[in-house]
Amino acid sequence: MTEHAAPLLAVDGLTMRFGGLTAVDDVGFAARAGEITAVIGPNGAGKTTVFNCITGFYRPSAGRLWLTRADGARIALERLGGERVASRARVARTFQNIRLFAGMTVLENLLVAQHNRLMAASGFGLLALLGTRGYRAAERAAIERARLWLDRIGLIERADDPAGALPYGAQRRLEIARAMCTEPVLLCLDEPAAGLNPRETEALAALLHDIRASGCSLLLIEHDMGLVMRISDHIIVLDHGRKISDGTPAAVRADPAVISAYLGDEDEDEAESGA
């Protein structure tokens, strides 16, 4: 990926304090359009907190979060807050735990994500009542888009089963497909590979590549280093709420600061025992 691509998301001086605890301390990075950007770090490094700030769940204590739209306009995400990050800035996210609508069918889960377009076309249900042509066309288009994604995630056969009845790996893929049905410009995934077996992880990697190819950028938190190193274009490493490294997978893997954060710092131990 080119170095001069305009950053889709620019995080600048992001700080998040909870009472006396500083979970994220002056973190800055950029996620470029058309790339897969990964945020990694040991447990408690502040990865999910960064995510929650970007997706409007937390209001940052300090810092700016700029999202640049395709037309060049910039949106300050930290000012939108809550659901408007999803609807106005078109930033979608998934969670560490699966949050599908378990009682609804697989297809319905994908249709719900296209609710706004359908709702406008259905005149808030009134036109659906009358079965007008405009509404039926919109409904057909929504189902078509849903089927496209079901095909990609290999669940077309199970479209009418309840989402809760799917195996774990399939639920994860469905959750990503659902987020994609909102047509986001940036998809934020919080540990998408958690709990997946190697084969499911493989399918996930293919899906993420597919999504990047379709023009949506990705930002992910992930613990599976094999997956991260293989699919990411760009990696940011956090430790104790600070950014300690930022670069390509190869550069990050070779960075001594990253190695010491993950494996413990031998020099530090020696220095302490020597003193």
Binding site: A86, F101, M104, E108, H115, S122, A128, R178, T182
Partner: protein, 304 residues
Amino acid sequence: MAYALQQLINGVTLGMIYGLIAVGYTMVYGIIGMINFAHGDVFMIGAFVSLVSLLGLAALGVSAVPLALGLTLLGAVAISALYGWAIERLAYRPLRGSFRLAPLISAIGMSIALENYVQVVQGARVKPLAPVVPGGLTLMTEGSFAVQLGWMQVVIVVVTLAVLALFTWLVTKTPLGRAMRACEQDLKMAALLGIDTDRTISLTFVIGAALAAVAGLLFLLYYGSIDFFVGFIAGVKAFTAAVLGGVGSLPGAVLGGLLIGLIETIWSAYFSVQYKDVAAFSILAVALIFMPTGLLGRADVEKV
């Protein structure tokens, strides 16, 4: 035998009305986890609007019964829906995110306010209405006892089934229904996917109130008299029906309504009219001891 059949007919008719009201309780509970205690009073408003409308149309010389009933139904549904919307907007939405008991107290206050409002505006006396749909069918006679199926009872069952069919289609097949079910399962996630949750909740109240208005009209036609307090008892019965059927479950609400209607009617017929409410509520208590989630309710699976 004939007597039992008659009670069955009466019980099902009454149960249909309870079921219609119960759906409103269960929908609101499903989506925001709150018991809307003012729902019974929306039913009462629906009955009063129907009364005023029927008398007004009669005064205007609209003598065709189906036309008068049709216009009344539309008017009652529209005005009650407006009440349902306003109640949610004024009494519940400002309290969303507040502690759990706050909207409940607000609901009880709303219920008292509506009852007193109708009492002041319409007077406290019982309002009678001459039978609009008289007559019926004698199904069978056994000795001196004739089993009657009133036309009014036929109207009630047919209208209720039609309304419930329309409602089921709305919930299962339309984008609005999908949004309602999504909000019921995970409000926050639904909002993240771009659903306007405030509007979906508003529409849930509107639909619940519309169903209650249909029940109000049918109740008025069936019993021929209402007062400002009918919403309380009918509301509590319908709430019981919703809990018995499994609160949050729509088919459960209708099933619970039918059961409460049947229990009440059969108890009155064979034991004592005075204790019919005791019977209905005792069966609720017993049912809840052995089936805490109600007949069709699902156990709340703990999320991890």
